[in-house]
Amino acid sequence: MRMRWPLPRPSARQWAIWVPYLWLALFLLVPFLLVLKISLSDLQFGIPPYTPIATLEDDTLQLALHLRGYVLLFTDSLYAAVYLNSVKMALVTTVCCVLIGYPLAWQIARSRPEIRNLLLLGVILPFWTSLLLRVYAWVGILRNDGLLNNLLMGLGLIDSPLEIYRTDLAVYVGLVYAYLPFFILPLYANLVKLDQRLIEAAHDLGARPWATFRQVVLPLSMPGAVAGAMLVFIPSVGEYVIPEMLGGANTLMMGRVMWNEFFNNADWPMAAAVTCVMVLLLLVPLTLFQYSSARQLERSR
């Protein structure tokens, strides 16, 4: 019997779909629903350190939803400051990545193919290298007795070392450095496919370079830029390693606060509540990212 694509037997096709589907549901969806559940329980001593939500006693099902975590999250001004600060830091990081990454991606995309491959390799290499080690590299540069301060003082530009290490500025440097390739790569993939004739046409019609960029290149490269910006913004909000290594004690970011609630205070319900609020906060950029990648999928079909 001849077979044609798509598979004629629906059972085989469904089987092929359901196996990865189940795997993803089991290890992504179910765990997250559990986080939601535990965010609604209360702290207790013992293992595990949280109360069950539902208890069955004397034929009565008791449902106890504790909102302690959420109440604290929305009333304590410390947590409000943490959200605002995380979002602010992620936003500034994203803007910096756009400002540095867009011209760079544009220049790579416009290079001759032999050079382009080399330049692209130069962006991919840090992407493959350990994030932990790349952030560590900045410690030696930014410290008070570090290379940057030694250089500036050696040149006589400053008299006393600049305080950068263990400040917010160092965290910005680390975040931009770590996430820059994540912005450049999707944008480059988009720019390299851009039809050069459109630019030439705009040029021939008398558009100045800036007008050409704003009215032709920018709108066409939007899907790549949005995908790249989201790949920077969303993980930055919950980043833990970079603020921990480069930031000061008062560099408050959500990932770090959640980590401290979990590991230092052993307050699992509170950590779960912080996680839920973080995901809620990221829902809009996440949808944006999914939408732009789904649209790219559709287009390539």
Binding site: P20, P48, P126, G238, L286
Partner: protein, 268 residues
């Protein structure tokens, strides 16, 4: 315009690549520094490399990490290839949106979210069915496979999408079963992407601090956990030596992979 543009072009490239590479170069140069003070150059020395290879704690952690990364990459390649192939070839199906969402989530989600949610699942699981009995290699492996599957799926689906369907259709018309077509035609055609995906999963697993922190148990300190606990308080020269070796290894593999891809593209 062309001439004025050339200066801007070289300035952009020089600044951009300077920013990306100056820290890495500094890190590597200072791994050969004689002094324990990491910021003053006192002379060339290989003493940190010698110390690195005598550091039993680091070596044991490295061995554990290599085992986990190998297991992770292999499992993630199987599941991710399957998931990516479904995404590329099965068209739309019920729950397609959720499927894309779940596949994309690990790419962007902060790692702390993935870490805490998997840990809480394992805790509930061991409460209900008494398994897994404590965290360790298995739990870290599951966490890493979940993360890496998404990356593998993205690489595979874009490669499968670029494939010429006529080869597969010809095989089907000649009477091969779909499963046979997948193993004998599709897989060999996407072999370079499979290699790249396996290596990416391997490096992601080898680099992960956050997920391993949640899912690791006593006696299971991976290399990034050990490195992180040492460097969060400051500079450690033996870590510079380790980083230099790591970066060189990554560079060799990435360049070799790039050569392979170019050759494959040219032969087509």
């Amino acid at each position: 315009m062309r001439h004025a543009g050339r200066g801007v072009r070289w300035a952009t490239l020089a600044l951009g690549y300077g920013f990306l590479y100056v820290p890495i170069v500094c890190l590597m140069v200072f791994s050969f520094n004689d002094s324990k003070l990491m910021t003053v150059w006192t002379g060339f020395s290989l003493r940190w490399y010698v110390e690195l290879f005598q550091d039993q704690t680091l070596l044991a952690a490295a061995r554990l990490s290599l085992v986990i990364a190998t297991l992770t990459a292999t499992a993630a390649l199987c599941i991710g290839t399957w998931a990516g192939y479904v995404l590329a070839r099965m068209g739309r199906f019920r729950g397609f949106g959720l499927y894309i969402g779940m596949l994309g989530a690990p790419l962007v989600m902060p790692e702390v979210v993935l870490g805490i949610s998997l840990l809480l699942m394992f805790v509930e699981l061991s409460k209900v069915v008494g398994w897994p009995d404590g965290n360790g290699l298995f739990t870290i492996w599951v966490g890493h496979v979940t993360l890496c599957t998404a990356y593998v799926a993205v690489i595979i689906q874009s490669r499968v999408r670029d494939l010429d369907r006529s080869l597969e259709e010809a095989a089907l018309d000649l009477g091969a079963t779909p499963l046979r077509v997948f193993f004998r035609i599709t897989l060999p055609l996407i072999a370079p992407a499979l290699v790249a995906a396996w290596l990416l999963a391997f490096t992601l697993s080898l680099d992960d601090v956050v997920i391993a922190s949640f899912l690791s148990g006593p006696g299971y300190t991976t290399l990034p956990l050990e490195v992180f606990s040492r460097v969060r308080l400051g500079l450690k020269p033996e870590i510079n030596a380790l980083a230099t070796l790591f970066i060189l290894a990554v560079a060799i593999v990435v360049v070799a992979l790039n050569r392979l891809q170019i050759r494959a593209a040219q032969s087509q």
